[in-house]
Subunit: 241 residues, 4 copies
């Protein structure tokens, strides 16, 4: 059974009644609730020791789900490096919504990961541009969200390995809202929905995508490749043909 760790900053929920009303168990609680149907799920949050991401926790995590927003700067560099190393070794990583500016996502992308944004209660329609991909399995032609925060292009990421969703917003913007990236032995999926004041993680299509993504992100059993000095496998002879 795939082992999932859901990481949440868990600050908005403590500070805002409005957010708490939407996510009374925290965003991590809601994510856990629909992931635990299929996977072995634990949670971790910013204010735990080592942010809940000890060596032991990460060593037994197949896929890490990441939600953060107002406290990206408080995540310790040492822990970011630890997560980064685990991704390169093969751990899957699903970065949600405002996690686009988390230290771990920026470190993996190598770009600013910046974008345009607006909170205006507007419709978001996420078009499926890759219907053959296992992450879009069962989703159909688009995901409809009555209200979502606008995230608009230009989104400063490397060209994704695979583009799965393109978002439409009422205000006139578009956004690459579902993207895959491979880094080292690990797989990364970025998914746009999840503003803290909107109930996006109760949406069944959104849930389905995150469930699909966990399966897609799971590590292979391939060992981390060997690097450094390499003995020749063939005789290095000088004769030309």
């Amino acid at each position: 059974m795939i082992k999932v760790t859901v990481w949440n900053e868990y600050r908005h929920e403590k500070q805002s009644e409005q957010v708490r009303a939407v996510y009374p168990e925290g965003i991590h609680g809601q994510l856990k609730s629909f992931l635990q149907e299929e996977f072995e799920v634990t949670t971790a949050t910013l204010d735990e020791p080592e942010h809940g991401l000890t060596e032991e926790v990460l060593a037994s995590t197949d896929v890490l789900v990441w939600w953060g927003h107002i406290a990206h700067g408080e995540v310790q560099d040492e822990i970011v490096n630890r997560v980064h190393q685990r991704v390169l070794e093969g751990m899957g990583l699903i970065v949600l919504h405002s996690g686009h500016m988390s230290k771990i996502f920026m470190k993996l992308m190598g770009t600013s990961c910046d974008l345009k944004w607006r909170e205006a209660d507007e419709v978001c329609r996420m078009w499926n541009v890759n219907p053959s991909h296992p992450i879009t399995e069962g989703v159909g032609e688009f995901i409809y969200l009555e209200k979502e925060e606008m995230y608009g292009e230009h989104f400063d990421i490397p060209a994704p390995d695979e583009l799965l969703f393109v978002n439409w917003y009422q205000g006139g913007e578009v956004f690459r809202g579902g993207c895959t990236f491979r880094r080292g032995n690990g797989k990364v999926f970025y998914f746009q929905p999840g503003h803290e004041t909107y109930p996006s993680y109760y949406n069944e299509q959104v849930q389905r995508v995150i469930q699909n993504a966990v399966k897609w992100c799971r590590p292979t059993t391939n060992a981390y490749p060997k690097y450094g000095y390499h003995q020749p496998l063939e005789q290095i002879s000088k004769g030309e043909a």
Copy 2:
């Protein structure tokens, strides 16, 4: 100087006063008018012998621009194969608007190239998602078209090598409206604007993109690679290291 051949079906202009009012010299005439500032431009149309695309014409064409719509089926397979071979040898190809269902584009893509569409005088905003690409040079953050035909996802093309523009439409759809593809020794650019009843080819940003694309599409001087039986370049010895 780059040699451009602008190919136009040239039927709408003859059949419809409305289209003729927009493009009195034909769509090819308008495309030629802004391309000839920088390039050596000739035109060819469906009803000419061999559709104006003789062996001689193609042999001296660096970049072919293609506009077609209601008469895709009338383009002879022999001419399609001839154009296809030239693309593989290195000739650039720019496919505009409804050319997405032309025989030559479908043959190069290997898919149905189908899409959703609607004519409803709606705003199209083409967001630049690749500002470092020479084809988007000088275009800025987006191209604004007051009226354009809606082309919507799913667009049944292979994942483009590079995605340059994503279109937003008032009716709620998005579209990958600027895409590059490499085929053989040749380069292909698909660009969405250009419904026959709208003045999109008078738009300076649209013109700039097509001009940029001609430069990007020009052939390299690399010879067509050699295929078939190949003598070993190194001695095939059996000794292991």
Copy 3:
């Protein structure tokens, strides 16, 4: 259970004792033998009516495996178009070795699919350049084949969506020997090993890759997207913000 149809030209085995000695049950027989451990497998061959690929057979096929070589030209265009349509609808396709010049692969790629080749009993080492991909699962750093036909660059395919293996040959050539492509709702995998006089399909790593590829290629349940005229999902109002 995934339904696999293994298609084989089945001519070499009838014409050559040398090939028959390697594959007494035909290449399709050997492919079936290791695929049937996990999947529901049937076979089809060129000389059967409709090449064994009737509408009924294809309708119940999740993944089609294709081996052909000396009789590509005998495959009827009608059957090629039928297979092509099924791939666009979602059927997976695994193209092996000399299938690179089959009509179906060329039609899906849009290029000549040509390459350099040589039969010289030389070592082929297929390096895994994508260890996080499910198709390379369990394969390790490389696949070692004591003897395989040399296939060398330039390989005239579109840039693959994902590059999985790069082959090294004793004679001095390299080859992109494991490549994925998405076409329509379907997924395609090209894999180089399998010259008819060498026992490559008895190699456990090669078998593992083909088994992995069947799983990767299986269709999603997403319906084939709707194309054509599309009603607006949002009110098309003319008011600017």
Copy 4:
């Protein structure tokens, strides 16, 4: 005229007579010698103040060429961040040979950038797998280097946006030896040749590729995109169609 800054660590040349014999003017001197035919070229080295990469120098650099090896760790993080920011703003970056482990390349890639290596005076043949790309212009089917350091897969980089060269080595390895990446508004090219004891930068094909790459890497005039809060461009009405 494109402004190029060639940056060299410039340590091997001072420490080793063998290297000095190959590059008496330093590696940067040799790179400058063939780039200044077409471009405005200056040089900068590690031991200059701010490594020669002041704000002023970078502000007037269109394309930065980077060679480093034994002193990656001595490059100050502040300068690395400055170069990184300039790449995101549009400056081109060409990373040569052992620069694969430079701080700036690792920061832009987000991976370990590690690989296999061996110094054994062996033949390197770099196959051109993208003959339509302007960086391979004029190079033909392959680049032949009588002696080059072996760099072997797995090379821990993100999947390149474009793969241009695949290297073959006598000892049995392959390597993705020419790769492009887009980061922010900037373009990055990695190119394998250039071990300090071999005369690779005197090879005319190698020189041609680096010259081509400078042109390909030059910035567009597109402004750095605007990020942050964004006013709606369209009226956000709630009416459904």
